[in-house]
């Protein structure tokens, strides 16, 4: 097993280099200018904007900029944001905890909903509960998060005035501070969690239905283990293999943050940083975020494969 992991990691390095090259070319080719806001400001003569572009080497040929980036990256310098004029790694590390906290807990909420609902719906196919679960799943992933986000704000903040909808992270401690932190995270986590739970429920239900019909389930029931034990120990144990792999594949999305939700609730996460940098074509930041994202994708693909092998004894590691 460890030999297999080592081999996969060795392959990951050139693969990441290739990915970083393609990413850089895509970003360099994409039009846009971090100093665009200066254009219509009469106080700032155009030469200033051009001088800034030259100073940050925006007009150099692409391969040169990539080599600079790679050399800097090798020495651990993740680059310098044009828009905030601050080192990129401080920018990302500042926002990472928020993303992990909000998006992470929404993924958790999604799982806590999807697995029980999916399993229960699969044990009673076409029952009332199953139909309801299906319908809510469809509602879940057919409404975009920007729509449900605003709906939640209108209902819970404006009409009922239960929850604040502007997310501000103020350092502090104590119960009151903790409660406040939770109160303001409820809506974004709900919006994001329900959206992710929707498609996850359908996968869990489908995986369960595939397994529940198999012979060894009848064998298990013939042992008088009782419905609950049969479902948990025998059916779920098998049905969860593809589901666990799917969850592992979605983990990078946790880092990528939820662009739309972070925009609506003003959550200072990686998602909103990514969007503002992309729209302002702040290449170093976008490059850093997407490169970390690529590393996570490769890492979690490996984790998914290892998980698959560990969970399913039939898969041997060649």
């Amino acid at each position: 097993m460890s030999q297999y992991i080592l081999r996969r990691l060795m392959i990951a390095i050139p693969s990441l280099l290739g990915i970083s090259l393609v990413l850089f070319v895509v970003l360099a080719l994409a039009p846009g200018d971090p100093f665009s806001e200066l254009a219509t400001n009469p106080n700032v003569p155009p030469e200033v904007q051009a001088a800034l572009r030259a100073k940050f080497g925006l007009d150099d040929p692409i391969y040169l900029r990539y080599l600079h980036w790679l050399a800097a990256m090798a020495q651990g310098d993740w680059g310098f944001s044009f828009v905030s004029r601050v080192d990129v790694d401080t920018l990302i590390l500042q926002r990472l905890p928020t993303t992990l906290y909000v998006v992470g807990s929404s993924q958790l909420l999604a799982l806590l909903i999807a697995i029980p609902v999916g399993v229960y719906a699969a044990t009673r196919p076409y029952s009332i509960f199953d139909q309801l679960a299906n319908t809510f799943a469809f509602i879940g992933f057919s409404l975009p998060t920007f729509f449900t986000g605003i709906l939640f704000i209108l209902v819970f903040s404006v009409k009922l005035d239960w929850l604040p909808f502007v997310y501000t992270e103020v350092p502090g401690s104590g119960i009151k501070w903790a409660i406040e932190m939770i109160r303001q995270a409820i809506m974004p986590v709900m919006v994001l969690g329900l959206f992710q739970a929707a498609s996850m429920t359908r996968f869990v239900r489908s995986a369960m239905l595939d397994v529940i019909r198999l012979d060894y389930v009848t064998t298990a029931r013939a042992k008088g283990l009782g419905q609950a034990k049969v479902i948990v120990k025998h059916v779920m144990r098998n049905a969860m293999i593809p589901v666990v792999t799917l969850i592992a594949l979605q983990m990078p999305a946790v880092f990528g943050g939820a662009i739309v939700t972070e925009q609506i609730f003003r959550i200072p996460g990686i998602g909103s940083l990514l969007i503002s940098s992309i729209l302002a074509n702040d290449t170093p930041v976008v490059m850093a975020v997407t490169f970390v994202f690529a590393c996570l994708v490769v890492l979690f693909n490996l984790i998914a494969d290892v998980l698959y092998g560990w969970l399913d004894p039939r898969i041997s590691f060649r």
């Binding site: 393609v22 990413l23 039009p31 019909r213």
Partner: protein
């Protein structure tokens, strides 16, 4: 019941054809049939609509702004007084086309790459997986920005302003959703190709292609169909999220996603404006998913119906 071979009725059959058999099993799945009818109705409404409802999509009448459903405007009007029904019909064509085309692109490409990676024993598998990882980590926005910037003029010259951007959007949305399907198919292939029936086919001299098409693929269809049907919803929503970020179709092309986006700030003033596009997307997505369910049960020989 499992593993029990029921005595299936053996009355003489009018010549067994897989298609008729699939249709017979599909008909068993009530919601799937209802959804198929619903989807056809939706498509018909969107295609024939303009000839029936002749109101233009861009007539601005500021005084008639934000009116609820009425006889003159069955779906009401938006803040510029434009008729929402006409815009929904016009936009529906594009939204449905984007959804379906993107799903077909993602399922086809995903299955192709997944199968190749799943079947290959050597380097090809790793190369394809590298490609999948690459596409998984490409951020959709800058790619779209770059593609628009590089190809828009060329496509516009060939297909006209709207056609050009339509193809671009479909390719980008479809072209960036195949990776999960590819991974799913690869995982299925890895386990299925070890199965005895595939070895048997191989023993009978079946070429790798035949093994894949005739034997492995039909068994791997379940999750692919599920992923495909979820993709349609994701594609329609991705198109609307693009307008949320200010990209996508030119402003005067009212796709459902675009209308929903424009309506989001007026939810408390004119909820009708957001309800119709939201509802339309919901119906389309539910229909397509139930059809997916029906198809999966119909095509899955192991499920006795």
């Amino acid at each position: 019941m499992a593993g029990l071979t029921l005595a299936s009725p053996s009355a003489e059959r009018r010549g067994y054809s897989p298609l008729r058999e699939t249709w017979r099993r599909y008909r068993r799945h009530k919601p799937a049939v209802v959804s198929a009818v619903l989807l056809l109705l939706l498509i018909a409404a969107v295609v024939i609509g303009p000839f029936v409802w002749r109101v233009s999509i861009s007539d601005i009448d500021v005084l008639a702004g934000m009116q609820g459903p009425s006889l003159a405007h069955p779906f009401g009007t938006d803040d510029l007084g434009q008729d929402l029904l006409a815009r929904m019909i016009y936009g529906g064509r594009i939204s449905l086309a984007v959804g379906l085309a993107a799903m077909l692109v993602s399922v086809f490409v995903g299955t192709l790459i997944g199968a190749l990676a799943g079947m290959s024993r050597g380097a090809l598998g790793y190369v394809l997986m590298w490609l999948t990882d690459l596409f998984l980590s490409l951020p959709q926005l800058p790619l779209l920005l770059m593609l628009i910037y590089l190809f828009r003029d060329g496509l516009k010259a060939v297909f006209g302003p709207e056609g050009g951007i339509f193809i671009l959007i479909v390719l980008v949305i479809g072209g960036l959703r195949w990776m999960p399907v590819a991974r799913l198919v690869r995982a299925q292939f890895l386990s299925l190709r070890e199965k005895e029936f595939v070895e048997a086919a191989r023993a009978l001299g079946a070429s790798p292609v035949r093994q894949v098409v005739r034997h492995i693929l039909p068994n791997a269809l379940g999750p692919v169909i599920i992923a495909g049907t979820i993709d349609v919803a994701a594609a329609i929503i991705a198109e609307s999220t693009l307008s949320f970020l200010g990209l996508g179709f030119p402003p005067d092309t009212p796709t459902w996603g675009r209308i929903l986006y424009d309506a989001k700030d007026f939810l408390d003033i004119g909820p009708h404006w957001a309800l119709f596009p939201g509802g339309a997307i919901f119906i389309a997505v539910v229909a397509i998913n139930f059809i997916g369910d029906g198809l999966r049960d119909a095509l899955d020989a192991r499920k006795v119906i």
